[in-house]
Symmetry: C2
Subunit: 875 residues, 2 copies
């Protein structure tokens, strides 16, 4: 038997979502539960995939099945395609597994031609309606199928208005529409060199094909990338009998939600238009009426609609977003789906549904997209305020939130402004670790270069500060910055939306995030199901406290180098680097030791008995050195050296590929005295806090960038020696562990060896992605856009883990590591640790915890809970 | 039962090499076949490893077994340790599995103390001999065991000579030696704060321990790294009854080879000294006599020795290197091993041994170290000429051979000099692709920076030109170069030895390589056993012809970018890069097309029906751009742009990590028009040569740096489309294939997917090593020396493949690739392809061919043959 590619609505149900898309499956489900759905059929997503396998040709098998199903639809409706008595008209709509509103193509009123339109006029006794429908069909078909821009037809409409001296479509007569049809067809012929197709079946096949083609249009590809939708899913096509909301004043069309999508309030919410087609509601040429008014205008239809709403909510156990049409007082349901909602509404609805007994707590936990929680934790511009805002540029939505303030160009200026009580927006080509303090003081950060995992983006997310990064609209001219079309100076006001990536001129009022009481209740439900830990990446007591407030269960990553950039210590760090010998380095390190120790004490005091993973010095040393001659001179004076000496050392530390250079564990091998100092600081701080607070502190020492067991062994020996000396000298007991980051491909494939010496692995998936793919996040910007445009890549592997490749390396490491130590503790630190899809993947791979920036902790808790519910681990 | 760590010579045989080291096994074997060997025992390599496991403590079990075996040795010899009648004296010598001459420690005359020396004097009736032996023992023991420098004792000897007004050791009397012993012991006490140990057993245990310790001394670690010897092998210790060549004129000691190690001539070759200990032969204070003279002096001993030589050659089926001692006219054999020999001698001996019926052709093939062949293919300084040479610096022996000429500093100067018939040595900080032409014209290349796989090293090896790279003795001062202690100017003569890495002042005469008739015969034997192909990396017809002469069976890598640097085309390449749009790029590419096509035609004409693998454009584009302002101005003028335009574009192409940037397949995705041009050139050239020469040309198109199947698919579609158009238009038939380099870790773990679209894989182990380890070859120099010094790494992973890690990635790729396509063709191109150890590994992993620079082809052929013999593949 041949493969079945086409299903009547009556042949499927809601479980067919994968095969028939969300819309198709829901139409079938509504049909099944007896709602008034105009009948039709769905061409499956498999047909779409077949279309792409056949180099964008619709296969004969699919075309044949479409034809067979048109015959069946004719039987069901009693109408006939192209019939001159009782013609069947259909709509052709896309419908993927995930909702992708507006991304793909739609054709309405299909089946009309010069003869059928006459029949329609006669049957409906409404010539104006019939020709209006016909011209709409030509316009849509030409646009969607033949890619003749819609605007060309709008020009014709405008010409005709001018000729008739009218301003509103409503003033067109039936004769006007007849002429419009003729002019449209002429234009079509002229532009396309073929007459407009009159055979309804030909129209249908062309439309189905074009919907499949639209699966790969630019905006659909972009939408999929942003929303983690694989290209391989494909779209289905729904062919459905047309019903008309524009046949007269006993007709209407509208869109409604079963609950308020902004607030979550349990009350029907929506809009409709009398005597209109769906596109009119969207187009905004007429102002739609609120749903309440339908009650007065068409009470029967309204009452029936209310009943269907209740049926659908009870059936789907979720707030629904529906389209409907009333044709001659008869209500038709055209679509239903889970309604999009704000984060606050999502929380309220989930909790309400539990209270109403409609869903369980577990189902509530599954109902909210973890990414949505972000909006609850950051300020945002009010919708009112945004209406006056002028968008002057866009960039990457690197760190969510909203910020207004005055432009500053350096971290120093940020401090000057904020010292005076002003709000600063730091605008830079890119940020570097030296900017940390200025970044922390700014309201928001805007950079011209750098992706979602650039320094600016990572640090801003960690701090919970709004950031728009890598904006190609931003460029620097002398002491001004050009954003979009205009130049701005220091002190000018701009606003940033880190959730959308938009840059606005001037100040815009923002609203603080408000966490409702539902939030805590909901997160507690999530935690009940969660089976892996959630930690945070935090370098300061403040970040650590923020993360604990958000529910973090430990620190998975303290980046010790961030501490080195503060003003009082960068000088010591530089002296250490510029020392010619070990003695000189030790002298500087001795002065750094008490400072670093006190940093750790601050963190332990917040974390108390929770584990704290400290990563040893990671970046290449030249990152700490001054780049400006004035700073070099200052340093030379301080150290009693010449400027030339300093320049020579700086030049000597230059690396061709710093990402593949002298960093991470390699530093500890060349300069074990650094690891000694850090070990003393970690252990002494722990001993001090244990004594002071009478708690058991749990330091976990983490060696970065290990590729070979011998590297880990070398440093571990230093660490254990120093730590044991310190502990013995203190007379206290202290448990510490020594583990390693797994971020080098070689470490993954030799993880069985490395596990012999490691107490834990923490995956550094950011570096692992860089080395695994062989491209650096700083340089990939030069070509990844080409990759997305040409559909070579669908996802940014720095945002969501590349499961197939980098994920495979992680799997190999997990298997090999656990083959040596079955209970090896496994975690992830780094940016991927806050990405819900990545969390699901890593949970399934067997990790014990994830660690992410403080503001992502709630997201990670929810994502981890959902992963556990979907695939519970044996206890 | 306890583990056995100590074996009497009579308990083992030649097969115990792994456990007892080469020396120990051979002493046992000689004992077994009845040669006169002073008896003793061997402490095993396992005891050495145990010593290191126990943190450098000799275990009690080993010490106990040593004691038991001393008792056994006492029984065998009839002498007793510390006995005052008939004392047993022993030597303690290291002996690893592989010969490491002079790298580890030796103690002779052990067992002497203040009492025993009197007994020895009495027994031998030679007081002077006894005290001389005793003072030698103190000196050696202090040096080796207590690390008191030998020189301190030499100072005492010199003082005593001065006091006595004598100039020669021979003039010391017995009394003098007695006093010397006392002075040595005083010095020992003063330096070490303990008296010299008088208990023979205590002396023995300390000596055995110190030999184990010497396994990890700096020179042994270095020697192991250079010679691919794993630290895990450990050394054995041989304890052997002393026999004395210095008891009088009926005594002698010497070293001899069964054949001439320089020429291979079948004639006893060696030296001896009458009345001397072994160390005297080495020390060079007395001039040894040639072996022939022994015939006259001690005819019986000589005749017996000749007999033993024959026995040993017949037994070991190889040329032997032996040590012997004659004590009171009685001959003792102290050691035998396969003798080191020159490459020419190795060939002659192998072929002679086959002709003599002593070994089979297969055994002959196994007998030669493939690396030795290198010396046969390059010129070298004659030993005579070298005697006058002054070494002024050293660097890495990057490309073998010998060269003399005048210093030039730029490629342009190299051309000027050679145009005038002068010989040029190009001396540079480092080389870049722009220097290619000047490099090819130079006699030799010397660089201050860069390792064994730096640009200079790789290109020089490819061209067969002598190169010394990364010499820290070289630095630049204005228009002079400092080498070692002195500055040199343009035009000054220097000489380079690329085989040793030495730099000489002035001109030194060199001898051309001479390939004997044995070479071809021998290589043909090797080819009979070889089961994988050997191809070459060649970018020019000249290189290709050279490789074919050396037996290459195809080209595994044409680097197309090398062609882009020649003067007539670099301008076009730059125009292409600087074009603002596709049209501009296409214009430049159209002009490049016929040039590139003619390059390929030249190569096909040489290779004819042999396969030619062409790699598409690989390096980041900025490598092609000018760096000097004058060149930029010129380019700007040519293109009608401003200097600022050019500077901006060049700056825009800057990458933070070029190795992880916009290169390889990423270029073909951003600019598919480049792949189109290269496809046209590859295919048109093949079609033209097929027609012209009436042969079937076999182009293999290779896409570099693929990490994801979608990348390969994108480019393959371009290639197939263009290729098919060209082939169809020609009316000819042409078979081409499209494959990919596997050099990205992600490609290895997704090789099953990539194999779906690839006709072949060629491993780029150089890049795979960089990404797999996460360090670049250009930057690793900053820390790899620390790694070697601290024994973190033993081997340079860019020279010999890292089997455990990078090799594992290769294995994964092979398994996954073949799981999709069981007959997938697998090869390696790049530097590792010429390394014998790597070839063995890759053969065992299942590769079909290796590809290396032309001058390494014979090495690869031999290494591949040896791998096949050791582990034959099923046909």
């Amino acid at each position: 038997m041949n493969k079945k590619y086409v299903y009547l609505f009556s042949e499927a149900d809601g479980s067919y979502k994968e095969l028939l898309g969300g819309k198709g499956a829901n139409l079938a489900e509504m049909t099944k539960i007896g709602l008034p759905v105009p009948q039709g059929f769905t061409v499956s997503t498999e047909a779409c995939n077949l279309y792409y396998e056949n180099k964008e040709q619709l296969s004969d098998a699919v075309a044949d099945q479409v034809r067979e199903n048109i015959v069946k639809l004719e039987e069901i409706t009693g109408k006939k395609f192209g019939d001159l008595e009782n013609p069947l008209l259909v709509s052709v709509r896309s419908g993927a597994r995930a909702s992708m509103p507006g991304m793909m193509d739609t054709v309405l009123n299909l089946g009309l031609n010069d003869e059928v339109v006459v029949a329609l006029a006669k049957k409906t006794n409404n010539e104006r309606f019939a020709y209006d429908s016909y011209r709409r069909f030509i316009q849509m078909f030409a646009d969607v199928v033949m890619e003749i821009p819609k605007q060309q037809f709008e020009v014709i409409i405008d010409e005709m208005k001018e000729e008739r001296n009218i301003s509103d479509d409503a003033e067109f007569t039936a004769e006007d529409y007849k002429e419009m049809v003729q002019r449209f067809k002429d234009y079509y012929l002229k532009h396309h060199h073929e007459t407009f197709p009159s055979d309804p079946f030909e129209q249908l096949i062309a439309s189905v094909t074009s919907v499949f083609r639209s699966w790969n249009n630019d905006r659909a590809v972009y939408y999929r990338r942003i929303n983690d939708i694989p290209a391989a899913w494909g779209t289905a096509v729904n062919v459905q009998e047309m019903v008309f909301g524009n046949m007269g004043d006993d007709c209407a069309t509208g869109v409604a939600f079963t609950r308020n999508p902004a607030t979550g309030e349990k009350k029907l919410f929506g809009e409709f238009l009398v005597n209109a087609q769906g596109e009119d509601v969207v187009a905004g040429t007429r102002t739609p009426l609120p749903m309440e008014e339908l009650k007065d205008i068409m009470p029967d239809a309204y009452e029936e609609f209310e009943r269907h709403c209740e049926t659908l909510e009870n059936h789907y156990k979720d707030m629904q977003d529906m389209e409907f049409t009333i044709e001659n007082n008869k209500l038709y349901m055209l679509q239903t789906r889970s309604g999009k909602r704000t984060a606050n509404a999502a929380l309220k609805i989930a909790v309400d549904l539990v209270n109403e007994g409609l869903i369980t707590e577990k189902e509530a936990v599954l109902q909210i997209n973890p990414k949505q929680l972000d909006a609850l934790l950051h300020p945002h511009f009010s919708e009112e305020a945004l209406k006056g805002g002028k968008v002057i540029g866009t960039g990457l939505a690197a760190s969510p939130g909203a910020a207004s303030g005055q432009i500053v160009f350096t971290a120093k200026e940020a401090k000057e402004y904020t010292d005076k009580g002003k709000k600063a927006i730091l605008v830079r080509l890119e940020t570097s670790p030296e900017d940390i303090e200025g970044m922390a003081l700014s309201e928001g950060i805007l950079t011209a270069r750098g992706g979602m995992t650039s320094h600016a983006a990572v640090v801003a997310r960690g701090m919970g500060i709004c950031c728009v990064s890598g904006s190609t609209d931003v460029s620097f001219r002398g002491d001004k910055v050009r954003i979009g079309e205009k130049e701005y100076s220091r002190g000018d006001y701009i606003s940033l939306d880190g959730t959308t990536g938009k840059i606005y001129e001037g100040e815009i009022a923002s609203e603080e995030a408000t966490i409702s009481g539902d939030f805590e209740k909901f997160m507690n439900w999530a935690d009940e199901y969660r089976q892996i830990g959630v930690r945070t990446n935090a370098d300061t007591p403040k970040d650590a406290q923020q993360a604990i407030d958000f529910g973090a269960e430990g620190i998975g990553l303290v980046r010790t180098e961030h501490m080195f950039f503060e003003a009082d210590r960068i000088k010591l760090v530089r002296e250490m680097i510029l020392s010619k010998d070990e003695a000189g380095r030790r002298k500087a390190l001795d002065q750094l030791l008490p400072i670093q120790q006190s940093d750790f004490e601050g963190i332990y005091e917040v974390m108390k008995e929770l584990p704290v993973t400290v990563r040893y010095l990671d970046p290449p040393l030249h990152e700490f050195l001054p780049t400006k001659e004035s700073e070099m001179q200052e340093l030379a004076d301080d150290m009693g050296l010449t400027l030339e000496d300093i320049k020579e050392t700086v030049a000597g530390l230059h690396e061709f590929n710093p990402m593949m250079g002298h960093r991470g564990v390699r530093l500890s091998i060349s300069y074990p005295e650094i690891a000694e100092m850090q070990t003393k600081a970690v252990i002494r701080a722990a001993l001090a806090v244990q004594k002071r607070l009478d708690v058991k502190v749990h330091p976990e020492i983490m060696i970065p960038l290990v590729g070979h067991i011998t590297e880990l062994n070398y440093v571990k020996e230093v660490v254990d020696r120093v730590a044991n000396e310190e502990i013995e000298a203190s007379g206290q007991e202290l448990n510490y562990t020594v583990g390693t980051m797994i971020e080098i491909p070689r470490a993954c494939v030799t993880a069985d060896k490395i596990a012999e010496s490691a107490d834990f692995f923490s995956f550094g998936t950011n570096d692992l992605t860089q080395y695994g793919f062989g491209f650096s996040r700083d340089d990939a910007g030069n070509f990844l856009n080409d990759y997305y445009e040409k559909s070579v890549f669908e996802q940014d592997p720095f945002v969501r883990i590349d499961e197939e490749g980098v994920g495979e390396l992680v799997k190999i490491a997990v298997e090999k590591g656990r083959s040596t130590k079955p209970n090896l503790k496994l975690g992830i630190c780094g940016e991927h640790g806050g990405d819900p899809a990545t969390i699901t993947f890593l949970y399934n791979v067997g990790l014990d915890y994830v660690s992410c920036s403080p503001y992502r902790v709630p997201i990670a808790r929810l994502a981890a809970a959902q992963a556990s519910i979907q695939n519970p681990r044996e206890k």
